[in-house]
Structure formats: structure tokens, C-alpha cells
């Protein structure tokens, strides 16, 4: 039951964040002082004896977008819960700053009694920001996800894709150095999903956070990531790793590039093997 986490980033990092609110960090600045998130020999066995994860080790730096693909129930989501501290791992160590972690859930998890604006301000409220700051941060984030004009709408009048955008905006207000995505776009239609992928990519290109993304979709994984890990069926282990060579910013047309298809094919073959 050894779990520890560092609660402060190296000073250089936090300063960079403060200066570059919603702006692209300048190229000269070296963000890779330390891995923002690292897993070492993580295992997880639930009290009922189910072994969900075995010896998972990898790290995610600032400016890296890492995706884990794997069959259903392989423990991908469990890994995110461990990273965020919602679950305690039974073996290994996690290193991450949990003070302002960004976690985008499978569902949008908006509070139905709050308007879009109020929902986006929620995390700043929980962290005790003063009202003027949280208003400004929320307004910026809403603008960034393209929901200006919808500030006073309640979630019940939003489509699934819009709810997901609100959820993204809510997470953005904290300017989290680490962004965890738990299959966030699994419930929306293909077209919306493609658009949300492009928007996620834009956010990543601007914010240069350390992204850890969970998905079933190979094309989503390849399109977004700097690196894709393939996870085996339970107990989840990393069985293959692919560095994705495409430069950012990436264009939607990348999905039709022959090289894109070739890499996706390799990931698919490896995923096929991971099922057994």
C-alpha cells in the first residue's frame, strides 16, 4: 500500500504556468524539468481478488500526449483513478502533483442545477479562488471551447457534445499541468467526436499539458498522441508502445494520410494480440 505523491512542482514549472495563462509557452522554455506524471511498477488487486493491473511503468512529460488503448475491462480507467488518487494502488509508486489535477470523466458530470458559467466556475470555487478570478478564468475557458453565448444555459438544454465541452472548460479553468481523459468522447456521435478530438488537440497545442488519454478508438489515439501504449486484457500490462511521429499542429486531414493508416494498422494488430 505504498502510495506517495509530490505536492509541489519544481519552481520553474509553476512560474511558466502563471505567465502563460491560455497562451502557448515560448519554445525556448524547457518544460521537461521532470516527468509530470510517472507510474512505476503499478499493480492493482481489488479486495475481491480481481487483478486489474500488473507492473505498469511509464511516464508522461509536459508537452506529451500519451494514449492507452486496450480491450474493455483491461484496467485502463483504473490506472487513471490511481493517478488521480481516487483509488489507492496495491503495488508500485505514482508520482504526480495532485493539487490541481485535470480529470475529464466518461460522463460530462455537470451539476444540473448550475448554468454553464456556474458549472465551469465550480472547480475554482472548490479551490477557493476569489470570485473575480474564477469569473475571468471561466469566461476564458468557455470562449476557448466555443460555447460563448451559452453561459446562462442549463445542462438539460445542451447536446451531449456541448456538455462534454463544458466539462473540458471546467477542467481548463484550473490550468492543470496534468490532464487525465477517461474515454471522454465515447458517448457522442462520430462527427462530434472528430470535432472534439480536433479541439482537444488545439487545447494541447496551446497548453502543452501532460496528457494521459484512455480510449477504445485507435484512430482517435493515433490522431491525438505523441505516444500510444497498448494494454493487454486483464490483468492490464503494457504490451506495445508506438511513438507517433507526426508534427503538431496536426490537421484533420492527417486521418487520411497513408502513414497514419499504416501506424493505425500496426496498433490494431497489436491490440488484436492483446485480447488473448
Amino acid at each position: 500500500m505504498s502510495l506517495w505523491s509530490t505536492f509541489s512542482l519544481p519552481n520553474g514549472l509553476t512560474t511558466v504556468r502563471a505567465v502563460t495563462k491560455f497562451g502557448r509557452p515560448s519554445d525556448e522554455e524547457d518544460l521537461r524539468v521532470a516527468a509530470a506524471l510517472s507510474f512505476r511498477d503499478i499493480s492493482m488487486t481489488f479486495p475481491d481478488g480481481t487483478e486489474a493491473l500488473r507492473d505498469v511503468s511509464f511516464s508522461v512529460d509536459r508537452g506529451e500526449f500519451v494514449t492507452i488503448v486496450g480491450p474493455s475491462g483491461c484496467g485502463k480507467s483504473t490506472l487513471l483513478k490511481i493517478a488521480s488518487g481516487l483509488l489507492a494502488n496495491t503495488g508500485g509508486t505514482v508520482e504526480v502533483d495532485r493539487e490541481r489535477i485535470g480529470y475529464v470523466f466518461q460522463d460530462a458530470t455537470l451539476l444540473p442545477w448550475r448554468t454553464v458559467q456556474q458549472n465551469v466556475e465550480l472547480l475554482c470555487e472548490l479551490h477557493g479562488f476569489d470570485p473575480a478570478d474564477r469569473r475571468r478564468l471561466a469566461t476564458d475557458a468557455i470562449e476557448l471551447v466555443g460555447l460563448r453565448g451559452f453561459e446562462n444555459h442549463y445542462p438539460k438544454s445542451l447536446s451531449g457534445g456541448m456538455k462534454m465541452r463544458v466539462s473540458l472548460a471546467r477542467t481548463l479553468t484550473l490550468e492543470p499541468p496534468v490532464f487525465l481523459f477517461d474515454e471522454p468522447f465515447g458517448a457522442v456521435d462520430e462527427i462530434t467526436r472528430a470535432r472534439l478530438n480536433e479541439e482537444t488537440l488545439n487545447l494541447f497545442e496551446r497548453e502543452q499539458f501532460a496528457g494521459l488519454f484512455i480510449t477504445h478508438s485507435i484512430s482517435e489515439a493515433v490522431f491525438l498522441s505523441t505516444r500510444v501504449h497498448v494494454m493487454s486484457a486483464r490483468p492490464g500490462r503494457l504490451v506495445a508502445t508506438y511513438e507517433i511521429p507526426f508534427e503538431y499542429p496536426r490537421k484533420p486531414e492527417l486521418r487520411f494520410d497513408p502513414e497514419f493508416a499504416r501506424i493505425s494498422g500496426e496498433v490494431a494488430a497489436s491490440l488484436e494480440g492483446a485480447h488473448t
Partner: protein, 295 residues
């Protein structure tokens, strides 16, 4: 001309404003149609009932039996238009309304406090819940003589009857509501280190409001019943609507009896509607009443 116009509109960010406006318009139309559809059938049925009433009064009952069911216009003139009779009924109704309101207020404060305590500590829930259920299971008529025995027949005793009868739905609905917040929402609050108090005020309590209002509507109706039952059985002290009902029945004053019944029903319906209105004001703009969300 309109084609290029809409396409240029579409190329802007949200493709959602127009469907929303269209949905608004549709909703307005269906509301108008809905009002007609909800108002006409009950009026029609009401006229039918009055017709049957007349039929029984004049067609079935002979003249010497007619006191059993006086015709509607006699109830109207004797019960509602006769100043002295109306004043008596309204006086009794007011007395019972006060009892019901005090009883309901006590139930709300007590029931919600208990439910919050139970939601915060499993031990308290386990300890208290069986007794809350038992309280609900006690037939109110069985306990009224005991209350009279202990506390007499004053307002205090009547309020107790009201509380006993209206407390349970508040406890159960509030507790159910407080436990209804979604797992994902709890995770979100856990992730951002929310305190117990923050979680209660920003998550579980707001999530509970629809259930709380459902409980309030039930309890409001029950508290009216409690006020009348208490007054009816105590039979003395300040005269409420329950004592009047008893008196009218004993003296074969059919018109006043029916008028008093109509008035007390109106009180019950009134509080039910009031809480429905309050619910709509308080949470109507975000809560979709359990029906499908207009997406």
C-alpha cells in the same frame, strides 16, 4: 435567398441556436394545446358529477330523505352564501390551517435535520431509520387518545398529531434525495478536496431538492389531514374544522356538512398546489421533472 443565408449561419460555431429557438416555439404551441387539453376534460367531468348529484337528490331520494344529500344549490346558499354559517366554517378552517402549518413547519425542520444527520453518519441512519418507519406504521387513530391523555386537547396536542403524520415522508424523501447524487459528481468533489460541508451544500443538498419537494407535497397534504383528525377526535378546545364536521353530522345539517367538506378539501388541494408552484419556482428551470430532456 434564404439558402445561402442559413449556410453562412451554419459555418459559424454553434449549429445549436436555431434548433433551440425552434424547440422553444414548438414548446409554446404544445403548451397552449396542453392547457386546453388539461382544462376541458375535468370541467366536463365536473358538470357530469353535478348532474348525477342532482339526479340523486331529486330523482332517487324522496323529500323526507333529502337531508341525506341536499342538492348543490342548497349547499351553495346554506353553506357558502349564508354569512353566519360561512363565518363559522371559515373560522374553523383557519384554526385547523394554523395547526397544519405549525405542524408542517415542525416536520420540515425536524425531518430535514434528521435526514441530514442520517446522511452524514451511517450509524445514525441505522439507529434512527427503523423508528421512523415504525412511526409511519402507527395508525394515527390509535395514538390520538394517548396524546390527549398526556398533553390534553390544546393546540400543542394537535400539532403533535400533525407532526407524527407528516414527518415520515420528509425524512424518507430528503434522505433519498441526499443519497441520489451521482458517483461521478462525488468523485469530482473528492478529486478537488471538497470538505464535508462543501459537499453537502454544493452537491448533495442541491441534488436532493427535487426529492425534498416531492416529500413536501405529500407531507403538506398529510398535515392538513392531521389537523382535522386531531380536532375531530379531541372534540373540544379551540373549534377547528374537525369539530364542525362532527357537529354538522350530529345535527343533520347536510348543507353545512358538505360545505365544510368542500372547504377542507380545498385547503388540502391548496397546499398541494402551493408546493407544486414553489417547486416550479425553485427548481423548474433546471429540473425536467424526470421526463426526457429536450435535447
Amino acid at each position: 435567398m434564404s439558402m445561402p443565408d442559413t449556410s453562412s449561419h451554419d459555418s459559424q460555431v454553434p449549429d445549436m441556436t436555431e434548433p433551440l429557438a425552434a424547440a422553444d416555439k414548438l414548446r409554446k404551441q404544445s403548451v397552449q394545446r396542453g392547457v386546453a387539453a388539461t382544462v376541458v376534460p375535468p370541467i366536463f367531468f365536473g358538470v357530469l358529477l353535478v348532474g348525477v348529484w342532482y339526479l340523486v337528490s331529486y330523482g332517487i331520494l324522496e323529500e323526507r330523505q333529502r337531508f341525506l344529500l341536499e342538492p348543490p344549490h342548497a349547499v351553495l346558499t346554506e353553506g357558502f352564501l349564508n354569512g353566519a354559517n360561512l363565518a363559522e366554517i371559515l373560522g374553523g378552517l383557519w384554526s385547523s390551517t394554523k395547526v397544519a402549518l405549525i405542524g408542517l413547519s415542525v416536520s420540515i425542520v425536524l425531518g430535514m435535520s434528521l435526514a441530514v444527520a442520517m446522511s452524514q453518519t451511517k450509524l445514525i441512519e441505522r439507529a434512527v431509520f427503523p423508528y421512523a418507519v415504525t412511526l409511519q406504521a402507527i395508525p394515527i387513530l390509535a395514538i390520538v387518545p394517548l396524546i390527549q391523555f398526556w398533553f390534553g386537547t390544546g393546540q400543542f396536542s394537535r400539532v403533535i398529531v400533525c407532526v407524527i403524520i407528516s414527518l415520515f415522508p420528509i425524512i424518507v424523501n430528503t434522505l433519498f434525495g441526499l443519497q441520489s447524487a451521482e458517483r461521478g459528481h462525488h468523485d469530482l468533489f473528492t478529486l478537488h478536496h471538497a470538505s464535508r460541508w462543501t459537499r453537502l451544500t454544493k452537491l448533495t443538498f442541491p441534488a436532493a431538492t427535487p426529492a425534498i419537494f416531492a416529500g413536501l407535497r405529500i407531507s403538506a397534504g398529510l398535515s392538513v389531514i392531521g389537523a382535522i383528525v386531531g380536532d375531530f377526535f379531541f372534540g373540544r378546545g379551540e373549534v377547528g374544522i374537525g369539530q364542525l364536521l362532527q357537529k354538522y353530522a350530529n345535527r343533520l345539517l347536510g348543507e353545512q356538512l358538505l360545505a365544510a367538506i368542500v372547504m377542507s378539501s380545498a385547503l388540502g388541494v391548496g397546499v398541494f398546489l402551493f408546493f407544486g408552484w414553489l417547486q416550479n419556482r425553485a427548481i423548474g428551470k433546471w429540473y425536467d421533472g424526470g421526463g426526457g430532456a429536450p435535447t
